[in-house]
C-alpha cells in the first residue's frame, strides 16, 4: 500500500534562511494517513519553519519533502494546484482576505482549485459555516468578527474541499481558555468527521491530550522527540516534561 509510505515525508531535510544559519537539520519524518501529529518546541526553535517546509513555502537547503507521495520540488504549476486542493491550512494569523466577505473567502478556494459548480459551492459554504458554528455569517467581513470567530472561518476555509491533510499553526494560541476550549472541541469534531490526517503546531495540552496520537518535539536544531503520545507519559526528558508538564505524571524534582 502506498499509504504505508506516509503522506507527508521529510527526508534528510536541512532548513534555514541562509546556508550559514541552519534552523533545523537531519529532519526525517514520515506522517501516515490518520496520524494526528502535534508539533511542539520552544519559541524560535523552528516549528513554523518546519511547517512552511512541509507546505513548500520555503525551499529546503537540502533534502526532500514529499506531500501525498509527490516531491514538492518536482511539481509544475498545474500539479501543484491539484495537489494543494487536497490539503487545508489554518495559518497562525488566519490569513483571511480582509477585503472579501466570509463567503467569498470560502468560495474562492473552490472556484480557484476545483471545477465545482456555483450552486454546489454556495451550499458548501453554508454547510461549512454551520459546521464551525457560524451560520448566517456569509456576508460579514473578517474585520467584523472576533478573534475566535475569525479562527473558525479560517478552519471553515481550510476544510472547504474535504482535505486529506489539515495543517494548523497554533490554532488555539491567543484565545481565552474558554474560547480555546470550544475551539479544541471543534477541531476534535472536525478531525473525526473528516477522518483527515492532522499536523498541528500547538502547546495546548488539553488539545494534545484530546486528539494527538503522536508528538514531535523540535529542539536543539533537530527533531528531539518523535513518539506516540502514550509513550511520553513516563518520560523523564526535561524538554518533554517542560512542554507537556500537565500531561505527564508528576515526579519528584531532583
Amino acid at each position: 500500500m502506498a499509504d504505508e509510505l506516509g503522506i507527508v515525508q521529510l527526508h534528510a531535510l536541512r532548513l534555514g534562511y541562509s546556508p550559514s544559519k541552519v534552523v533545523l537539520d537531519h529532519v526525517d519524518l514520515s506522517i501516515r494517513r490518520g496520524d494526528v501529529v502535534a508539533i511542539l518546541g520552544s519559541s524560535g526553535e523552528g516549528k513554523t519553519t518546519l511547517l512552511q517546509a512541509m507546505l513548500g513555502l520555503i525551499a529546503p537547503l537540502s533534502g526532500e519533502v514529499r506531500l501525498l507521495h509527490r516531491s514538492l520540488a518536482s511539481l509544475n504549476k498545474e500539479e501543484r494546484s491539484q495537489l494543494f486542493a487536497r490539503i487545508g491550512v489554518v495559518f497562525q494569523h488566519n490569513a483571511l482576505f480582509t477585503d472579501m466577505s466570509v463567503a467569498e473567502n470560502l468560495a474562492m478556494v473552490a472556484y480557484q482549485t476545483s471545477q465545482l459548480r456555483k450552486e454546489v459551492v454556495r451550499e458548501l459554504v453554508s454547510l461549512r459555516l454551520r459546521s464551525v458554528g457560524l451560520p448566517g455569517f456569509e456576508s460579514r467581513r473578517p474585520d467584523q468578527l472576533s478573534g475566535g470567530q475569525r479562527k473558525r472561518v479560517a478552519f471553515a476555509r481550510a476544510i472547504m474541499l474535504d482535505p486529506e491533510i489539515l495543517f494548523c499553526d497554533e490554532p488555539t494560541a491567543g484565545l481565552d481558555p474558554l474560547t480555546a476550549g470550544k475551539l479544541s472541541l471543534l477541531i476534535q469534531h472536525l478531525g473525526s468527521e473528516l477522518g483527515a490526517t492532522m499536523v498541528m503546531i500547538t502547546h495546548d495540552v488539553d488539545l494534545i491530550h484530546a486528539i494527538a496520537t503522536r508528538v514531535v518535539i523540535v529542539g536543539g536544531g533537530e527533531i528531539h522527540v518523535d513518539a506516540p503520545l502514550d509513550a511520553l507519559r513516563e518520560s523523564s526528558d526535561p524538554l518533554v516534561r517542560g512542554l507537556l508538564g500537565q500531561l505527564i505524571a508528576p515526579r519528584a524534582v531532583s
Partner: protein, 370 residues
Amino acid sequence: MTAPGAHRQRGNAREERIPFSGSLGIAQANQIYGAIAAEHAAASRLIVDLEGVTQLGRVAEAAIVAACRVRVRRGDFIHIVGAQGLVSDIELALGTPEQDFEEAPPRLLEAVGLGTLTKVASAAALLQMAASSSAAALRFAFRRVHLPRHSLRYNIALMGADAVGIVGLLAALLGMILAFEATRQLGDLGAKALVPDVVGLSLIREFAPLMCAVVVIARNGAAIASELASMRAGQEVDALRTMGIDPVEYLVLPRALSLILTTPMLTIMAMAIGLLGAILVAILFAHLDLALFYYRLVEAVDLNDLVFGLSKSLVFATTTSLSAAAVGLSSGSSASDVGRATTHAVVLGIFLLVVCDALFTFFSGVSHGR
C-alpha cells in the same frame, strides 16, 4: 422524512429513483448535482437512494442538498433513503433556509486569476477590456463605488479615476509654467512665435508622461507595495500559495494591468489639460493669437511625438507596477517592513523612471541624429 414545501401531486405522483453508490467525493459532486437537478417534464416524487453509498464527503453532501433545493423549488417531493446519519444530515441541511449572500461572481475571480492571462492573449479581449475600463474610469470619475479589492475594475477606478483631479490640476499648472518660461526666454530672443513649438513638444514628449508617472508612483506604486507587503505580513500570500494559486497572477496581474491601462489615459489627459493651460498663458500674457498657436502646434508636433510620449508612459507604468509588486511581495513580515517596503517602492520607482527616461532620450537622439 420529507423536504419542506413538497405537498403537491399526491394522487398520481410519478416516482423517480436516483441510486448512488460507492464513495462520493469532490470528483463526483458536479455529476451528482446534475443527476438530481436535471430538468424533468412533470413534477414527481423523487427518491434519492443512498443505500449503496459507502462514504459521503461533505462536498458531495452539499451537491445533493443544493440539487434537492432545486427540485423542492420546482414542487417535487423529495425522499432520501440510506444510512441514518447521512439522511438526517441532509434533511437537516435542507431544513435550514438557503443563505443568500453577496458573492463575487466566479467570472470576476477568474478575471483576476488564471483567466486573465488567457484573456489578455486575445487581442479582441484586450480591446474589450480597454473599452470597459475607460467606461469604468469615466463612471468612477464622478462617484466612488465599492468594488472588491482584487477586481480589475476596482483597481482601475482606484488607480485611474481617483487620480484625475490631481493630475488635471498639476497638468494645468505645468502647462502654464512652461508657457511662462518659454515666453520669457524666447521673447528676449524675439522668437515668441516659437512658444507653441517648445511648450507642445516638451509637454507631450517629456513633461506630461513624467509628471503622470511621478503621481502614479507616489499614489499607486506606494499602494501596491504596502498592500502586498501587508498581505505578506498577514500570511495571505502564503495562504494563496497553499491553495495552489500563484500570488503573482492573482495579486500582481490585476494591479499591473490596471496601471498599464490607466497611466497612458491619464497622460493623454495631462497633455490636453497642459496644452489648455499653456494656451491660456500664451493668449493672456504672451498675446499670441489662438489661431497662430494652433497652427504652430500642429506644425511642430506630429503623431510620432504623441506615440513617443505614450510609449514612455506605458513603460513607466510597467516598471512602476512591477517594481512595486516585487518590493511588496519580497518584504519581511512585520509591521515596520510594510512601511519600509512602501518607501523602498517609491524610491525604486523614481529611480527606474529617470533611468528609463534617459534611455528613451538617448535612443530617440540616436535615431534622430542619424
